[in-house]
């Protein structure tokens, strides 16, 4: 750098402050002043946002690092005042979710033993049958899904949890890192069938994920899940 360059006036003014704010190099007191300007001065806020956009390709330099589950629990306690109230280290056996899960598991085992033969053709060989227990952490929606490769049908048993009024449940298959593919809206009823379209049959196999999202009536208008995923589970060979 030549001395002449050093004396270049701050032609940028606000734009330079915005750039420095986004780069993050300023001391605490200057950052505070600029943060207040961002909140009150829309023009300045726009300059800051332009810099955030310009430098955002550098974000790829941040690794994704798995967060311990305790952080989410503490966050929920902080935001919603629930989570881990009296028993700070709620062990597995004290966990309501565990007992609920066990109840669902017993129900599922019962279902497998008794109910599956009712809606799967008896002649299917074991390796053409796949099952998934679909559940969500934050909902009480529970389905058991059984896929029969011979008939290309998914039998769905609705164990618990209702769709909200004016909405449908839509079933998705997710293979590895590929985007979800819709298998269709799940008809209402306790034992229902979804026929898998010919083009989607190749997606279904052991280890893929089935997920159910809550969608507007008639299903997602975009071809991708638009509502929350209410339940999901891996398909496993029987």
């Amino acid at each position: 750098m030549t001395p002449g360059e050093d004396r270049t006036p701050d032609a940028g003014g606000d734009d330079q402050f915005a750039a420095e704010y986004v780069l993050g190099v300023l001391p605490a007191n200057e950052r505070e002043v600029l943060a207040r300007r961002i909140a009150t001065d829309a023009d300045f806020a726009r300059l800051v946002e332009s810099w955030e956009a310009r430098l955002s390709p550098l974000n790829s330099g941040y690794d994704e690092i798995e967060v311990p589950a305790s952080v989410k629990q503490a966050l929920e306690a902080r935001l919603f005042g629930r989570g881990t109230p009296a028993t700070p280290k709620s062990g597995l056996l004290q966990s309501l979710a565990f007992w609920r899960g066990l109840a669902v598991a017993s129900l599922a085992a019962f279902f497998l033993a008794i109910a599956i033969p009712l809606f799967l053709p008896a002649a299917t060989t074991p390796d053409t049958r796949l099952i998934a227990s679909l559940a969500g952490d934050k909902t009480d929606v529970r389905y058991l899904a059984a896929y029969d490769a011979r008939s290309s049908e998914i039998g769905l048993s609705h164990l618990a949890g209702d769709r909200t009024a004016g909405h449908d449940f839509e079933l998705w298959v997710i293979k590895g890192k590929e985007p979800p593919v819709s298998l269709g809206v799940i008809p209402a009823g306790s034992h229902v069938h979804v026929v898998v379209a010919a083009g989607h049959r190749a997606l279904i196999g052991s280890g893929v994920l089935f997920a159910i999202s809550l969608e507007p009536r008639g299903g997602s208008p975009t071809g991708k899940p638009t509502g929350p995923v209410v339940a999901s589970g891996d398909l496993q060979a029987m």
Partner: protein, 184 residues
């Protein structure tokens, strides 16, 4: 378990729903983005316990400020990373006069070219990478280091053995050159 793959559009919708205080959407948004935002907090703060605390605060901000995203022109993930970066950087600045310790640790900071070098490689593919390549190497490194690690002017000046004002001039000029290059 939720779908592993969220598109930009998915995240946009999730933030929109979070602005309506939809907790299911908040859960999904957390699943989709917490690992990245934790990466930001941990990189800047270099301390797991503090990064965990910071991440919670970041998501509290996301919960309360999600409505502001609607008026933002940033991509959703850039908007989220900006919240995390600003929060983590405010936190290290608030650690106060740790400068003495940082002086001693400056060699340690110098040992971190790995991830940055990686960014150079990845960055070459985009225009920002190309424009950083037009800067003198040490200035490009200072810009990247500042952005990714949250280094302050004081820390950078120490590391590059120049006065703070010189570092400030370097970086201001570098940023304006970057802008000019990106707008060409």
């Amino acid at each position: 378990m939720a779908p592993q793959q969220f598109t930009t559009q998915d995240i946009t919708k999730l933030i929109a729903r979070v602005s309506l205080k939809d907790r299911a959407a908040f859960d999904l948004l957390y699943r989709a983005t917490s690992a990245k935002l934790f990466g930001v907090c941990l990189r800047v703060l270099s301390d797991r316990a503090e990064a965990e605390e910071a991440l919670q605060e970041v998501f509290v901000k996301i919960w309360t400020k999600a409505d502001r995203f609607v008026v933002s022109e940033l991509s959703p993930i850039s908007w989220l990373v900006a919240i995390a970066r600003n929060h983590a950087i405010d936190r290290i600045r608030a650690r106060g006069q740790r400068t003495a310790a940082i002086d001693e640790a400056s060699e340690l900071a110098d040992e971190r070219p790995g991830p940055e070098a990686q960014v150079v490689a990845e960055g070459e593919r985009d225009r920002l990478g190309a424009c950083l390549g037009e800067l003198e190497a040490d200035r490009a490194a200072a810009v990247r280091g500042a952005y990714l690690n949250g280094d302050s002017y004081a820390e950078l000046a120490e590391r590059f053995s120049v006065p703070v004002n010189t570092m400030r001039t370097w970086l201001r000029r570098s940023l304006m050159k970057l802008k000019e290059c990106l707008e060409r």
